[in-house]
């Protein structure tokens, strides 16, 4: 895309986050959508483009009373919303629609109106992964980590540091699910989920939602809040089978998506003030820092341990507390985008002073897909 031709003008999460047993998944979509529309002073009839994952955009459009000229049902897991932003920018630039609503809602904890099914036994996943006891993210997403640790002569403690420092950020966020400080010893002593991952190295499972409204940069100046411009975008997909990832030491999808976004934005890593990396498990920020080019292979763990990504560090990372401590409904990418937008608006609870450029990187499935959005609050 062409940088700064499209901007976020509305952004909001659901009114509540965490445990919401009195709302269904589609209800969470709608609550977030209405909050985001109120944020930019629009109503559903002003929307002519709809994108969502988890539910069908058909269902979301009818539920909210929207008759769109563009719809995107891209559903590649938790980074789907990064891809929606990217596709929405292209659609707006091409004139397919003018004002796009992207919604997410998930009853991840309460499972009200939630969808999920085991893979069909005749699918390739059902034939070649499920029979060995793979049941979902804790038993699949985690598998590459031991190889990564061995390659770089790292230890389980290096994973634990990721959780410890993100909890420091969460402590600054009133809406974070987990705010009490933790130590490396606490992380290692937590109940074992899937060696080497303890419970504190795994994301939360909560209920919530979020929504974004995007329009052209030209129109964006006429909205109540200052626009957050889309500076660069990237996406890629790699494999639905974790066992067939090209290399367990890095994510090819991360590398392709990140490089594309940086090239579009025309910025260097030194220009980045704020960073979000989807952290379903503690090893993901390590892969993300390296695959996006902020650290050399094997150096991300030291970079985090030395507090470069912690409060007061030079590259604030996952400033909402991340999926590990803020919230994680299942498809966390929307919350990473929300935090990037808050930081660019200067409204984040743990605000990075003077931040002008935010990189927001999402993963989909278990290293299956990736999406990267680079935001800026500086006008074109």
């Amino acid at each position: 895309m062409r940088p700064k031709t499209v901007a976020v003008v509305g952004a909001a999460e659901t009114t509540r986050l965490g445990r919401i047993p009195d709302m269904s998944a589609i209800g969470l979509h709608a609550d977030a959508a209405l909050n985001a529309l109120a944020d930019c002073g629009l109503t559903p009839s002003d929307i002519d483009g709809v994108a969502t994952a988890g539910e069908s955009p058909i269902e979301i459009a009818r539920y909210l009373g929207i008759t769109p000229t563009w719809a995107d049902s891209t559903s590649v897991g938790g980074c789907s919303f990064m891809l929606h932003v990217r596709h929405a920018a292209a659609a707006i630039n091409e004139g397919l629609c003018s004002t796009v609503l992207i919604t997410h809602g998930e009853s991840g904890h309460s499972r009200i109106g939630a969808r999920r099914g085991a893979p069909s036994p005749s699918s390739l996943q059902g034939q070649f992964e499920a029979p060995y006891g793979v049941t979902g993210p804790p038993t699949a997403f985690t598998i590459p980590a031991l190889r990564y640790l061995k390659t770089h002569k790292l230890s389980v403690e290096d994973l634990a540091w990721v959780s410890v420092i993100q909890r420091e950020w969460a402590a600054k966020n009133p809406r974070a699910s987990m705010k009490d400080p933790i130590t490396v010893a606490d992380v290692l002593a937590a109940p074992m989920i899937a060696w080497p991952f303890t419970r504190l190295m795994c994301c939360l499972v909560t209920d919530g939602g979020g929504a974004l409204v995007l329009t052209s940069a030209e129109r964006a100046r006429d909205f109540p809040r200052p626009p957050v411009y889309v500076l660069g975008t990237g996406e890629s997909v790699e494999t639905p089978w974790i066992s067939q990832m090209l290399d367990f030491n890095y994510s090819t999808a991360f590398r392709v998506s990140g490089a594309k976004a940086f090239a579009e934005a025309g910025i260097s890593h030194a220009d980045v003030d704020h960073l979000m990396i989807y952290d379903a498990f503690a090893h993901l920020p390590l892969y993300g820092l390296e695959d996006l080019g902020f650290c050399e292979p094997g150096e991300a763990a030291g970079f985090i341990r030395e507090r470069n990504t912690a409060p007061g560090g030079k590259l604030p990372l996952n400033t909402n507390g991340g999926g590990l401590s803020y919230m994680h409904s299942g498809m966390y990418g929307m919350y990473a985008l929300q935090e990037s937008v808050r930081q660019m608006r200067g409204l984040a609870p743990a605000q990075v002073p003077g931040a002008k450029i935010s990189v927001c990187h999402g993963v989909g499935g278990m290293f299956a897909a990736a999406g990267t959005i680079i935001f800026s609050n500086e006008a074109p």
Binding site: Q127, P131, Y132, A194, Q244
Partner: protein
């Protein structure tokens, strides 16, 4: 709960028939010589449909794994490894490791392994055990 088992398709039938016969069968491209997995009727490297099925050595090394402390009911109650092995011929596959304790001390990355087959009636699952105990 019954063990979760694969349902072979026409494109994968040779693999599961091989397991039942005690053979680990891979496919190889006649044009570029690449071995690949999971099964499909063309080469994922060059796109050629000229592929053959052959019996693999069954030798592998332990590439990475987790030890699941909350096993699916059909896998029993004890923590067990879910592993990815790298076959001597190159491809990697998901599997379980048998014939050794399911502990980090016993499951050492890069340890040599060999295939063995676990009988589940119509299906035999390929699993791997340490070479020489």
């Amino acid at each position: 709960m019954d063990r979760v088992l694969p349902a072979p398709t026409p494109e994968t039938r040779h693999f599961w028939d091989g397991c039942k016969a005690g053979e680990l069968r891979l496919q190889r491209c006649a044009d570029c010589a690449e071995s690949y997995f999971p099964p499909r009727p063309f080469c994922p490297v060059c796109g050629s449909r000229q592929v053959e099925v052959y019996r693999a050595s069954g030798k592998a090394r332990l590439y990475s794994y987790i030890i699941n402390h909350r096993p699916r009911p059909d896998m029993g109650a004890a923590p067990h490894a879910i592993a990815v092995v790298e076959l001597a011929e190159g491809p990697r596959m998901m599997t379980n490791i048998v014939g050794c304790p399911q502990t980090p001390e016993a499951l050492v990355l890069d340890m040599p392994l060999e295939v063995t087959f676990q009988d589940h009636g119509e299906i035999a699952l390929p699993v791997f055990q340490p070479v020489n105990g």
